[in-house]
């Protein structure tokens, strides 16, 4: 799995590409951990290149959501593929996360 990030206008955009499963989860958790070091994070997470997510991947995102909430920040997801969206819907993760259609919407929502 690839994890890349950049920052613009006070929002950090994270791009996840490939498969977020048990083999990728520890590295993804570490990478998010570096981002959540201090302050109130404003994250837009691009999932348009995420092909697959398993339970282990969902747990990584749940931990991120919890830490962001504790830091009074905001995390918004966007670009979910249909198969990933289905996993979010069945597991109820679509009620935990704010989900936007595109990068602009996610960045704006992350700052609200």
């Amino acid at each position: 799995m690839e994890f890349t990030q950049d920052e613009a206008g006070g929002v950090t955009t994270v791009r996840l590409a490939g498969r977020l499963d048990s083999s990728a989860a520890p590295a993804a958790e570490d990478s998010f951990g570096h981002l959540l070091g201090g302050g109130a994070p404003r994250l837009a997470v691009d999932l348009s290149q995420l092909e697959y997510i398993s339970s282990a991947g969902l747990r990584v995102l749940l931990v991120v959501a919890r830490k962001v909430q504790q830091a009074n920040g905001k995390v918004v997801l966007f670009g979910l593929r249909p198969n990933v969206r289905e996993v979010f819907s069945v597991s109820g993760f679509d009620k935990i996360f704010a989900i936007e259609a595109d990068a602009a919407g996610a960045a704006a929502a992350a700052l609200r």
């Binding site: 499963d21 339970s55 747990r59 749940l62 919890r66 996993v87 069945v90």
Partner: protein, 228 residues
């Protein structure tokens, strides 16, 4: 920190009688099996998606009970790395995994009770009922763990706090056991119904446990109404 199997056995204990709270035995077995499978998931030994459950790392955890569960889920050849877990477990899903473990639940329950005794949380009392039948009960002698878990779950259920994965598993288990009354009043249970449903869905294996227990309750309810 207690494992999920120990935690759910402890929560099921009736403080006053030292016996397990009322739950159809088959449902209690499913919950206990689910607890073991979810523990392995949090230890990164198994993973799952909407269709399948995979053993991704068959190496021992160091906990004899969990290693027994893992061995029952891991197909032959997994330990020597002959094939990856996804290929070997193509037919296994969360429901089938829990069903495969349920037959061992009573042995795991006895093991969990012994561990709780060894940790000084419970005391084992042997006696006789009507001077004939042997009885065994487990009064709680150190209730710190129970109180901490109840307080944490209460806080999660009564606020909008996002849970950590460990707490999600506990909520799934406690809801499947119909033990929400341990942490919430009747009014609070009614008020938090949507929240409980939402949090219980967050774990895909937990969903399988909840479904299986609901099916058993449905069967028992209809069997009982057919008799009367």
């Amino acid at each position: 920190m207690l494992g999920f199997v120990e935690e759910i056995v402890l929560l099921q204990l009736d403080d006053t009688r030292g016996g397990l709270a009322e739950l159809p035995l088959s449902a209690a077995d499913i919950v206990l099996a689910g607890a073991a499978v979810m523990e392995l998931a949090l230890l990164n030994r198994i993973d799952s998606d909407l269709q399948h459950l995979f053993v991704v790392d068959p190496s021992p955890t160091g906990d004899a009970m969990l290693d027994d569960v893992l061995a029952r889920l891991a197909p032959d050849g997994a330990e020597d790395g002959a094939k990856d877990g996804a290929e070997l477990n193509a037919e296994l899903n969360a429901t089938a995994a829990v069903e495969r473990i349920t037959g061992q639940a009573d042995a795991y329950r006895r093991e969990a009770l012994q561990r709780l005794v060894a940790k000084g949380i419970l005391r084992e009392e042997n006696g006789r009922h009507f001077w004939v039948f042997r009885t065994r009960r487990y009064p709680v002698i150190d209730d710190r763990e129970q109180r901490e878990v109840k307080a944490r779950l209460r806080q999660l259920l009564l606020t909008d706090e996002i849970p950590d994965p460990h707490d999600v598993v506990l909520i799934c288990l406690i809801e499947a056991c119909d033990l929400l009354g341990l942490v919430l009043s009747a009014d609070e249970i009614a008020r938090t119904k949507t929240r409980v449903e939402q949090l219980s869905r967050l774990d895909l294996i937990g969903q399988a446990v909840t479904r299986a227990v609901a099916e058993i309750r449905f069967i028992i309810r209809h069997a009982t109404s057919a008799i009367y």
